[in-house]
Symmetry: C2
Amino acid sequence: MELDLAADPVTLTRHLVDIESVSHHEGPIADAVEAALRRCGHLEVVRRGHTIVARTRLGRPERVVIAGHLDTVPVNGNLPSRLDEEAGILHGLGTCDMKGGDAVLLHLAATLPEPNRDLTFVLYDGEEVASVHNGLRKLAESEPDLLAADFAILMEPSDGVVEAGCQGTLRVEVRTRGERAHSARSWRGVNAIHAAGEVLARLAAYEPRQPVIDGLRYHEGLNAVRIRGGVAGNVVPDECVVEVNHRFAPDRSEAEALAFVRDFFDGFEVELTDTAPGAMPGLDRPAARAFLAAVGGVANPKFGWTDVARFTVLGVPAVNFGPGDPLFAHKADEHVPIAQIRHCEQVLRSWLTAPLPEGPGA
Amino acid sequence: MELDLAADPVTLTRHLVDIESVSHHEGPIADAVEAALRRCGHLEVVRRGHTIVARTRLGRPERVVIAGHLDTVPVNGNLPSRLDEEAGILHGLGTCDMKGGDAVLLHLAATLPEPNRDLTFVLYDGEEVASVHNGLRKLAESEPDLLAADFAILMEPSDGVVEAGCQGTLRVEVRTRGERAHSARSWRGVNAIHAAGEVLARLAAYEPRQPVIDGLRYHEGLNAVRIRGGVAGNVVPDECVVEVNHRFAPDRSEAEALAFVRDFFDGFEVELTDTAPGAMPGLDRPAARAFLAAVGGVANPKFGWTDVARFTVLGVPAVNFGPGDPLFAHKADEHVPIAQIRHCEQVLRSWLTAPLPEGPGA
């Protein structure tokens, strides 16, 4: 399917949603996006794997990155998209996280040949899986110049309100061990799955921290996201692995968060498998302040880890601003209000076409 | 490799062990066994799938089935076989369960052209997995005449002592459900893996029954043999499944055992996936008494489910009698004392060559 980026952003959102793009399978959507961007004469386009960068080269005094990921979590009976015109809601996998935001981004890329700031549009793969697969991470490490900017906006769902900072995330495997035996003489073995009951009991009793930072209240989490164990239907199993995802507020470093998790599972084997730092809200920075003022002055905390943290590491102030209530991300009934798609598009269009204020980053 | 059935049974055991034959992959060992049996002119051989039946047709007044399964549980760093000559121990996957018994069976098949009773040798596949795959079950259902006999001996490991009866086995899936959510906002979902903690806690607290039947003390068991759950590394999972194996003494029917399990997991979803009945010891039957007397008069209870129960259903009295301590079945350090292989072979050879006692089944 050929994508029409000039179509209205709601129609474009539907088209993007209906190109299935579960993590590790972003090839078709990346092909479609790349082809459509290459048809825009005012953009310079490069592709790395399934990550696409499209830039204006107007010599403006400021450059802004606008970015979104192309992948989704696994299908959950929620494709293709379904438009409820009466309620003004678009349903389907990725409508909220984050093809509504991608559609706004792509529509602006195609229809703003002369913005007031130079723009770098980034569409990337592998955001919903371990960070080793993250296309933006790869780009930040291999070609950071492609991401150089004065400010960055991630189109992650934020209910059309600026969300600042983000929580960190880490994953560990908590492992119990036992001793195999034939299940008919189970008293001669030690059941590793039974031993994992205590791991799950601790998780069920977990009480999250909710620290307030720069006036924003964060909310941590500690969840088993996968569990596996077993050898055969008649063998007492000698190993059980609980994969745990910890989300931690940005006042804790990755090392501090890991220390908390190790202490929480004291007595069990804990192996770190994936980690990414949080980002402090950064609302004191000039570029963030300017954008925040332009869109109404209100900011919320970001609970989900987003690639805002990668821009923080590169020294680029960044915020989340996109259509969709993040509470519906990754749920079977994922959806986005079409009014929010239009709102985000209009706010950004105004900000990118108004005369620049005096002085850089004002 | 061509099997030499006339070789001594210990050497033959090694050869059988070194043909890897994990359940669902019995083709190569069945091919080798079939070819070797077909070289014995005194046997009539038929093959059904990976199950082989070889029979004498001497018109004797009694017929005895001698049976063994060809498959093993998964490899656990215990292949190929290793002979410790000094200790008189053969190590390796299947040495105990049950290629030592298979070797005795095959050696007798090849070297007893004129036994005192007609013999039916059965080697079959799919015993270590769900009963739907069991080659003996399939044969009992499709061609029960092939298994017609006055008595049956299963060469399952029994420490070279007659083991009578067997415990039943059933498997259920115990399922917990939750609601998916992004793990960054986990308080909006319900974690199904955390909910499985209570299932594992009950299992850890289980107290087994140990009823005494015909003077034999049985020992029940209730074990998680597998656990699975999880959608993606950043999703609160909406389902967790604990596969539980219950071993029950032969004084309970399958229906009674299932009722116990349902009650044990009261409040959770319980789905039956596999069931096989136990077998009462049956030591009061004439044929069982005669064999028991011939081998010394001692019997133990059988804890593991064995295909003895299938013969019980066909009306054929049956016992377990084979080399190897069943406590080492399915363990990484599985092994068999070579003296037990020789003992079983000699006991059976004597019983099958001595003059028959007066009267059938005396």
